[in-house]
């Protein structure tokens, strides 16, 4: 009886019975339900084992071996004592360069995307005319910057010879605001390193907005879940809008910050336009399967490290702000 009260504990007999039909116990309703549940997720289990676990193991093997595809028979492996990893770090001239570049870009982009989507969500949550339309437009990039479209946009250096042309025209007549501001500030000698980053961000604002569709929606949903009575109470107590933002809105949204950070990092790392991804794809097309596998594992490890670090920092920050 006591056992039945804790829904997450299973005896070995029930556990076996849920996965293997002809063994174990399935007489109790709980056990039968468990079996139904397993049946429901069975497609996932099969798929995960066949198309995720097996390839993962093979991919680790690939990364440790010299791989040659034998037409009609699969592939053959020969151990080459971490040559692929050594290749990635010491022989491949571009890989480490790309990796460092992309990581740096990722950090800046993630921060910018989070700030941008946060601000936009706060704005879009207010009541004004045309709100639905504005929301619809801000969500459009989710569709328009996916897959092949994102790649094409970034590879066409003159994405829009038009914009390049207009920029030129603006330069000629001296009304390129960001450039002139930048030169002004650098002449006056204010810490140029940080300003460079900020100006890079401003120039990349199109990419940032294009990358923040889902994040805006997630923040918006969090905002609409905050009860308005909180703000009313704060207002009655003489809280200014600024204080209300930092004392109510920000803490209430901070759990979603973690979700959005992880989503942004993954999104950035998996983009086709990513130079590391392109590099790995090129290797694969050149039949350097071992090297490609090794490099994608290194890349994945880096991504995972970033996710780990950022979620550690954020969860620390969230818990401290709650205390």
């Amino acid at each position: 009886m006591a056992k039945n009260l804790s829904p997450d504990r299973w005896s070995l007999k029930e556990g076996v019975g849920a996965f293997i039909p002809w063994m174990g116990s399935y007489k109790t309703m709980r056990a039968r339900n468990a079996r139904t549940g397993v049946l429901f997720i069975l497609p996932f289990i099969i798929g995960f084992c066949l198309f995720m676990v097996v390839p993962l193991i093979e991919s680790i093997q690939f990364s440790l071996n010299d791989v040659t595809l034998v037409p009609g028979e699969g592939y053959s492996l020969s151990w080459n004592s971490f040559y692929n990893y050594r290749y990635a770090f010491t022989i491949d001239a571009t890989f480490t360069q790309y990796l460092i570049d992309e990581s740096g870009k990722m950090v800046i982009n993630t921060i910018a995307t989070l700030v941008m989507s946060f601000v936009l969500a706060v704005i879009l949550n207010q009541n004004f005319k045309g709100r639905t339309l504005a929301r619809a437009i801000f969500f459009l990039p989710v569709i328009l910057s996916s897959g092949v479209l994102a790649g094409i946009e970034s590879q066409s250096q003159t994405f829009n010879m038009l914009s390049a042309m207009s920029e030129e025209a603006a330069n000629a007549s001296g009304i390129n605001i960001s450039a002139s501001l930048q030169s002004l500030l650098s002449i006056s000698g204010v810490g140029s390193g940080i300003f460079d980053i900020i100006f890079d961000m401003i120039d990349a604002i199109y990419d940032i907005v294009m990358a923040s569709g889902i994040q805006i929606i997630v923040f918006l949903s969090g905002l609409s879940a905050i009860s308005p009575s909180l703000y009313e109470a704060a207002d009655v107590e003489g809280c200014t809008a600024w204080e209300a933002f930092w004392k109510i809105t920000f803490p209430m949204l901070s759990p979603l910050l973690l979700v959005n950070t992880i989503y942004t990092i993954i999104d950035f790392f998996m983009k086709n336009s990513n130079t590391v991804m392109e590099h790995i794809n090129t290797l694969q097309n050149n039949s350097q399967y071992g090297q490609a596998a090794a490099q994608s594992w290194i890349y994945f490890a880096v991504a995972l490290a970033f996710i780990g670090i950022s979620s550690f920092i954020i969860s620390k920050g969230v818990s401290s702000s709650e205390n």
């Binding site: 997450d8 029930e14 556990g15 996965f19 468990a34 079996r35 139904t36 549940g37 397993v38 049946l39 429901f40 997720i41 497609p43 996932f44 099969i46 798929g47 995960f48 198309f51 995720m52 390839p55 993962l56 093979e58 991919s59 595809l69 009609g72 028979e73 699969g74 592939y75 004004f128 504005a134 619809a136 969500f139 459009l140 569709i143 328009l144 092949v148 790649g151 094409i152 066409s156 003159t158 010879m161 038009l162 207009s166 199109y206 907005v209 929606i217 997630v218 949903s221 609409s224 759990p255 979603l256 993954i266 790392f269 998996m270 694969q284 490609a292 596998a293 994608s296 594992w297 890349y299």
Partner: protein, 342 residues
């Protein structure tokens, strides 16, 4: 006369009220006005930034080649032509002369449809299983779903490629036909993967649907059980009708992302003409296309290349935008719902 009086009286009252609350109402009204003007400016700017590329693409797509080099033309073409579209249609269905009209587009359409139906179906079942049943190792399997979201498909693509190059389950096919199957030329591998929740972004859909199904009160299920409703009946008659918007949105996401997907398409649909692969290789096709009449190779100017690519992108996104206009609510709402519980 009378109205003038009342308006004057109103004004006086207004003034005295303002004096009485020492301008509080007036101030807050001014503040609100300023905020809304600033907000409108900011939103307009950003929205314009998102929309502008589409508009300029449409403009550029209608220009003749000479218009491209004319620096006085920015957005509106001087000589309107639809010739470019024909060229892009030809370029994207390069392989089949007998059916020159958008062969690859039709392929993309049916592949996206089939894949997204399969994905929505399997993810619904799996999400439902995760949300409504408890079974041993549930946390472990859900961890696997999350892992699937995080692991980039590129990590396993090489192995998958090799796997489908010589496909075999426990040596069955080798035993039957003497050698393993080569599935690289067919669409079967990817269909199998979508059916088993391993397709593009399937982890996300499982997550969304699970969050939705978790929100349904347990008592609904119990009432159905007491009234003698079977498991399948509970799912089909009680759970699914309410879940249609969420499932629809998974379907739509899957459709849209599959439509534009390059990674899986490039790896798994080598045998058939897909629009996204065509689009990404359009650069290399152009020189050959323009030189196919004469025997000299033609250098296509960069502006021209860009124009044709832009048209390709436009053709790709127009169906999606039309779809989005009609289903915008479904898209946004379900993400919002699943986000609120994350």
């Amino acid at each position: 006369m009378k109205t003038k009086d009342t308006s004057r009286a109103n004004k006086a009252e207004h003034l005295s009220r303002t004096r009485r609350n020492s301008g509080y109402v007036l101030k807050s009204r001014i503040r609100k006005g300023t905020v809304s003007v600033l907000r409108a400016l900011l939103l307009f700017g950003l929205c314009f930034m998102i929309i502008q590329p589409i508009i300029s693409r449409i403009g550029v797509s209608l220009m003749t080649e000479s218009d491209l080099y004319d620096s006085t033309i920015v957005l509106l073409p001087r000589h309107v032509t639809l010739e470019n579209y024909k060229i892009v249609f030809d370029l994207t269905s390069f392989l089949r002369k007998d059916f020159p009209f958008l062969d690859s587009m039709l392929n993309t359409l049916w592949v996206s449809l089939v894949v997204s139906v399969l994905q929505a179906l399997s993810c619904t079942l799996v999400g439902y299983g995760f949300a409504r049943y408890s079974f041993p190792l549930k946390k472990f399997w859900f961890g696997c779903v999350v892992a699937m979201i995080i692991i980039p498909p590129q990590t396993i693509s090489t192995a998958l490629y090799a796997n489908f190059n010589a496909f075999d389950i426990f040596g069955i096919f080798t035993a039957l036909t003497g050698k393993p199957l080569n599935l690289l030329k067919s669409t079967i591998p990817y269909m199998l993967m979508s059916l088993t929740c391993m397709g593009l972004k399937d982890g996300l859909y499982i997550y969304m649907l699970r969050t939705y199904f978790q929100g349904i009160p347990k008592s609904v299920e119990e009432a159905a059980f007491v009234d003698g409703c079977s498991t399948m009946h509970t799912l089909v008659r009680i759970m699914l009708p309410d879940a249609v918007p969420t499932i629809m949105s998974c379907f739509l996401f899957s459709f849209v992302w599959q439509w534009t997907d390059l990674f899986y398409t490039r790896n798994f649909f080598k045998g058939i003409n897909m629009y996204s692969t065509k689009l990404s290789t359009m650069y290399s096709q152009m020189a050959r296309y323009f030189s196919k009449d004469a025997n000299v190779s033609v250098v296509v100017s960069q502006a021209r290349e860009q124009q044709l690519i832009n048209i390709g992108v436009l053709i790709c996104i127009i169906p999606l935008i039309i779809l989005y206009v009609f289903t915008q609510k479904t898209f946004v709402q379900s993400i919002a719902m699943s986000g609120s519980k994350e």
